[in-house]
Amino acid sequence: MADEVILLGFWPSPFGMRTRVALAEKGVVYEYKEEDLQDKSPLLLKSNPIHKEIPVLNHNGKPICESLIIVQYIDEVWNDKSPLLPKYSYERAHARFWADFADKKISDYGSRILWKKGEEQEEGKKGFLDCLKLLEGELGEKPYFGGESLGLVDVAFLPFSCWFYSFETCGNFSVEKECPKIIAWVERCKEKESVSKSLQDPQKIYEYVAVLKKRFGVE
């Protein structure tokens, strides 16, 4: 019986993009459904009744929610190629730690850069760049966080790169100037089709941010 795989997403969401990168790495055939967050579909509300958020992966009628949990599920089910997590438990713990770090910190600091002003925005900028520098240290000389191929940390962190242009413009700084290795890693990842197919155009993200700012009356 053929697998039925449906991904509910929202195009600018970095969490949705993560799931797309993971599915593409594994060569999974799936149906993508774009959600209107102002008018959520019955399928979304039924699949994620608790948070009512995207992304949601629906696999043969069973929903899986929370992007990093979805990515690990994808890795466990489609385990015949492109492993996203290392084989041994210590390295797996290490990957989970950095994925968790990127997940929590980048969202938090990025939000402050986009939506706050003055001191709060400056704190966001500093926090964001400190995190990127730590991630640069973790990457080291490896081509990817996963080593020779994409891993959980790459998948977790990459989609935020679409938002760098928005952070840079709102916060008046340059990621390339402060963390060149991160930009080099992003460019390297984008050479992979699984990534280039799944990431959004940073300019489009910035236009979306502008729409949101107008909607919420933020400068």
Binding site: C65, E66, S89, R92, R96
Partner: protein, 223 residues
């Protein structure tokens, strides 16, 4: 020979959940008590990013962040599994663990630092979350099913810490009346020997938090 050390605190729910996992699997370890204000140089060395406990040190290699540590323990020691084998059920367990952690963390802060109407409003999401968990646990002995699992260990914060915060800050938790299925789960949970034998008595926990309240110490917003 395996060397296993846990840097933690008897009063921390994040440290306790790791201890419970080790005890349930029958794993020997050395416990090193940490103080929330004066953290040891070792702790800062092994967790330079977050500078927090718990930290598990296995043959000299550190693992940090309690949910990451729990998964590490589960993958390294196979006895008495704490997570299901089936990928979808495993994903559900991870979902509930994350849900509980995110929704319960605020309670300590609210209990100690907010008052009156502001507090009532701040508590609403926590009560909503408890209602959701009450529905989820209905008809089950443990979140893990017949046997205690990872989600139960994470929910330990609700079993032991929520009543303490309730008493100190008079939160009107009304555990048994408002969340009867969750209350029944609690009775099952606190009677598991590995749990029961590895927790401070409630009155000791109360005394420690009352002392902290007096000093107006920052309650950890995560571990």
């Amino acid at each position: 020979m395996e060397e296993l050390k846990l840097f933690g605190s008897f009063i921390s729910p994040f440290s306790r959940r790791v201890e419970w996992a080790l005890k349930l699997k029958g794993i020997e370890y050395e416990f090193i008590g940490e103080d929330i204000i004066n953290k040891s140089p070792s702790l800062l060395k092994y967790n330079p990013v977050h500078k927090k406990y718990p930290v598990l040190l296995h043959n000299g290699k550190p693992i940090v962040v309690s949910l990451v540590i729990l998964e590490y323990i589960e993958e390294t020691w196979k006895e008495n599994p704490l997570l299901p084998d089936d990928p979808h059920e495993k994903a559900m367990a991870r979902f509930w663990a994350k849900f509980i952690d995110e929704k319960s963390l605020a309670l300590g802060r609210i209990a100690f630092f907010s008052q009156g109407e502001e507090r009532e409003k701040a508590l609403e999401p926590t009560w909503e979350a408890l209602k959701t968990l009450d529905e989820e646990i209905r008809g089950k002995k443990f979140f893990g099913g017949e046997n205690i699992g990872l989600v139960d260990l994470v929910a330990g914060v609700i079993a032991y810490w929520f009543p303490v915060f309730d008493e100190i800050a008079d939160l009107n938790l009304l555990f048994e009346q408002k969340f009867p299925s969750l209350y029944a789960w609690r009775e099952n949970f606190i009677n598991v020997p590995a749990i029961k034998e590895n927790i401070l008595p409630q009155d000791q926990m109360l005394a420690i938090y009352r002392e902290r309240q007096k000093k107006l110490l920052q309650i950890p917003t995560n571990e």
